[in-house]
Symmetry: C2
Subunit: 208 residues, 2 copies
Amino acid sequence: MDAEAKNTEGTPEAWRDVTPDAARRLMTAAVHAFAERGYHATTTRDIAGRAGMSPAALYIHYKTKEELLYQISKVGHRFALDILEGARDGAGTPAERLAHAVRAFVRWHAEHHTTARVVQYELGALAEDHAAEITAMRRASDGAVRAIVEDGVKAGDFDVADVRGTAVAVLSLCIDVARWFNPHGRSTPDEVGELYAGLALRMVGAAG
Amino acid sequence: MDAEAKNTEGTPEAWRDVTPDAARRLMTAAVHAFAERGYHATTTRDIAGRAGMSPAALYIHYKTKEELLYQISKVGHRFALDILEGARDGAGTPAERLAHAVRAFVRWHAEHHTTARVVQYELGALAEDHAAEITAMRRASDGAVRAIVEDGVKAGDFDVADVRGTAVAVLSLCIDVARWFNPHGRSTPDEVGELYAGLALRMVGAAG
DNA sequence: AGTGAGGCTAAGCGCTTGCTCACCGGCATG
DNA sequence: CATGCCGGTGAGCAAGCGCTTAGCCTCACT
């Protein structure tokens, strides 16, 4: 029942379609364990225990502990990338699209800061080929933000000297939310998203 | 000689007065190992090996592996806090002081990104009492930035709706430099510091 | 020359780790 | 009712972990 409580409490929609049920329980257990203690400090017994199973059960659904991290990382990055590319290709002025990208990205990182922490800070533990795949997705995220900033500069809406550097900074600012955000703290995910959208617009020199 | 090469290559001035020599060599070896692989994935054999010593030698100079991390963390936080409090108490307009704080803080995080990575991302591995001490220093860092922003608002130089949130965002932006900065990348620490000082001024709505 | 302290090592202890394997119950199917 | 399979367990293996201990070498000081 401990495991079930954890399961309903902290499971974002991202894991909805992980099947079978036991695999999903293991995945969300791993997310929480990795986020709390880090990948290397988490034991397979800890993960299995949180999911209410014996250690051996983990290996029925995942080849290794690293594969669990890889799956989590992949789903998380897919989610983040969809947000950013959606904003890049969406309708509206560059300012509207940048604000939308930042708002949604930050909201996700705050709301699902447990998952986001694993996704953003445990990359070093991935196997080489998995790391390469994830790195490609991260570069795409970078590119999506840069594209929006470039659009704004071309349209004359933004005033940016160093497009690449500023785009990196905006994305970096958003990512770091996963590190410091505290659900019991002063601000809600919505509030942080709103604040950060405004800050991003200022960073690119959008008229305001 | 491998260890000696490492020693001269990546040792920031911060460790200058760690004595005796063997203790310093162990410390810089630990910094590099922790930064590359993370605290939990680093073995005492790895640290000692990088310092050109046997595993047992570590325990002559440090009680535990965690104490090494604690010392690194303390020195690093002291350094960062000095920068920020120096800027807070320094001369000049709030805008000048904020720009100076960001420039110096970012420069340090880029130049010594190995150390900074350990300092910023391995806090979770600290023992309870050590973690409490470090947390206090981090709160002081937060306060120093907030004080500068408050000064600017009071002087009418800054235009900030959410002082606390904006101060957190500025500091967060700077900290995250340690995560992504690559010495072989496009920008030098000086360039990033300059860019970020400008971005911070925009974030607080300083007249530009 | 003799001595004691400090810095260091080789060996290894006790324990935990990721992972495996022989086995088992329930259940859909012939 | 027999059968095969899917999802699970209990026990445990080999390896590696943090850390300790007994003892050695060096060298300042007498």
